[in-house]
């Protein structure tokens, strides 16, 4: 298999933006993970108390799975093919066939059944993205963007990971680029993407998305702090942080990733003000990081549980993100 020798592994903070950027780079379209993340308007915040994970609410710091790949496909007119399968054998056969054609194939998988994940990181999340770049014997060569190096996975394990059932079941989803992008990134595209993120963060007409979603989380925390016992509250805040630090990308990572996008876009497309917006968002990210450290220590009992301090953190973060995206929106609209 020649692919493994020509493919360059590109470690990223987040799986979906990483796979998208790697695939484009592999097809001679040099783009960074941050640019991919920003262009697809993937930054968000969502507090979804009606969707439970292990009896606790779903909290997301970005748009839902497939949003990035689908967004990019439309924006850049990528000839991206998506295929799902009714049966596992057909799905594995098709993968082999595409690899034999020398393609790099993106897959949606469960995290839990990938043996190269450290055991502590394995949980039942079914929308992890990775690339298969070749096959040697029974092993697939995997470029998983959140790992440092190209790794291997036996076919039985990969099959299991591709065909799990449940929420966000991948149904063996594979995707690949079938040609060159129809468009290149330009200033208009960047401005449009910026506006879209501002609208998502400010004007989604439900209170649990965007900057107001952060406030909703603060409210929810307020509500349980009077009612539930300390063990539950600790578990709840631990869960909030886990969604931010582990399931999301490290240390309020999406805020930093978006700040990196603002910086890059400002330099490339003559939008000088984006540099100071990037600095502002970095400060907000640092604030999230501090919140995470505090809350994690409280959840673990290394700090005395002080729910009202965390609530204040969230209220401030909500206000800061609200003001940030208002100012950004005003600037972008004036361009």
């Amino acid at each position: 298999m020649s692919e493994a020798t020509t493919f360059t592994h590109y470690q990223s903070a987040h799986c979906e933006s990483g796979v998208s950027a790697s695939m484009l780079r592999h097809h001679g379209f040099p783009v960074s993970e941050a640019m991919v993340f920003g262009l697809s308007s993937a930054l968000s915040f969502a507090f979804l108390p009606f969707i439970k994970i292990n009896q606790l609410p779903l909290i997301a710091y970005r748009m839902p799975p497939r949003f990035i790949v689908n967004g990019l496909r439309k924006l850049l007119q990528l000839p991206m093919k998506f295929e799902t399968f009714g049966n596992a054998e057909a799905g594995m056969k098709r993968l082999d066939q595409l690899l034999a054609e020398g393609r790099v194939v993106g897959l949606q998988t469960s995290v839990f059944f990938l043996p190269y994940f450290p055991p502590s990181m394995r949980f039942h999340f079914n929308a992890h993205n990775l690339m298969v770049i070749g096959k040697e014997g029974d092993d697939y060569l995997i470029s998983d963007p959140v790992f440092e190096n190209v790794t291997r996975c036996a076919s039985a394990d990969l099959q299991r990971a591709r065909f799990v059932r449940g929420v966000l079941a991948p149904k063996g989803l594979l995707y690949f680029l079938d040609g060159e992008p129809g468009k290149t990134i330009d200033r208009e595209m960047v401005l449009k993407a910026l506006k879209k993120t501002c609208r998502i963060m400010l004007y989604t007409p439900v209170s649990f998305i965007g900057a107001s979603g952060v406030k909703s989380l603060a409210k929810a925390l307020k509500k349980i702090s009077g009612k539930k016992d300390e063990a539950y509250i600790k578990r709840y805040i631990g869960h909030v942080i886990r969604m931010q630090e582990e399931i999301g990308t490290g240390g309020a990572g999406f805020r930093f990733l978006y700040a990196a996008f603002l910086q890059e876009a400002g330099q490339q497309f003559n939008l000088p003000e984006l540099k100071s917006f990037s600095t502002r968002l970095t400060a907000i990210g640092d604030e999230w990081r501090e919140f995470a450290v505090k809350a994690a220590r409280m959840s673990k009992g290394r700090l005395k549980l002080n729910t009202s301090e965390l609530i204040t953190f969230l209220e401030n973060l909500s206000a800061a993100e609200d003001q940030f995206f208002r100012d950004l929106y005003a600037y972008v609209k004036a361009q």
């Binding site: 990181m121 799990v164 886990r242 490290g250 240390g251 990210g285």
Partner: protein
């Protein structure tokens, strides 16, 4: 976050792996910086895993007292709860709950046991013993 502030705690969670975080270098430019772990992630991930281990341990003693089926132990052992197990098997939650009760799994017909085994990534034989990993 500055590059020099990127935490390197050699986290047990990552087992020598490093993750990418975005941080500013001395010139104020964003860079991809590898991190061997940071406190908040390590604490909360460990917590989440501990919760499952604790549930599994409780389920095991319940099972040994004849108060639940062995499936409950294996479910938590493999980091699922009744909801996720129901979704992963396509078996209604109320049925899953019934199968978690004492004797509820052991008496099932083998095709149903097989569905649980697939969802949990194990064999039926493994699910029928407590040390089946």
């Amino acid at each position: 976050m500055q590059q020099k502030d990127v935490s390197q705690t050699h986290s047990d969670i990552l087992q020598g792996q490093r993750k990418i975080v975005y941080a500013l270098d001395d010139n104020g430019e964003y860079k991809r910086v590898p991190s061997s772990g940071w406190e908040a992630e390590e604490l909360v991930t460990q917590d989440a895993n501990d919760w499952f281990d604790q549930q599994a341990a409780e389920a095991l003693s319940e099972y040994q007292r004849g108060q639940c089926s062995i499936l409950k132990f294996h479910m938590f052992k493999r980091r699922m709860d009744a909801e996720t197990l129901s979704q992963a098997t396509g078996i209604w939650l109320w049925r899953v709950r019934r199968h978690l009760r004492a004797g509820g799994f052991e008496q099932l017909k083998s095709s149903l046991q097989q569905r649980y085994a697939e969802a949990l990534g194990a064999s039926v034989e493994q699910l029928l013993t407590i040390d089946g990993q």
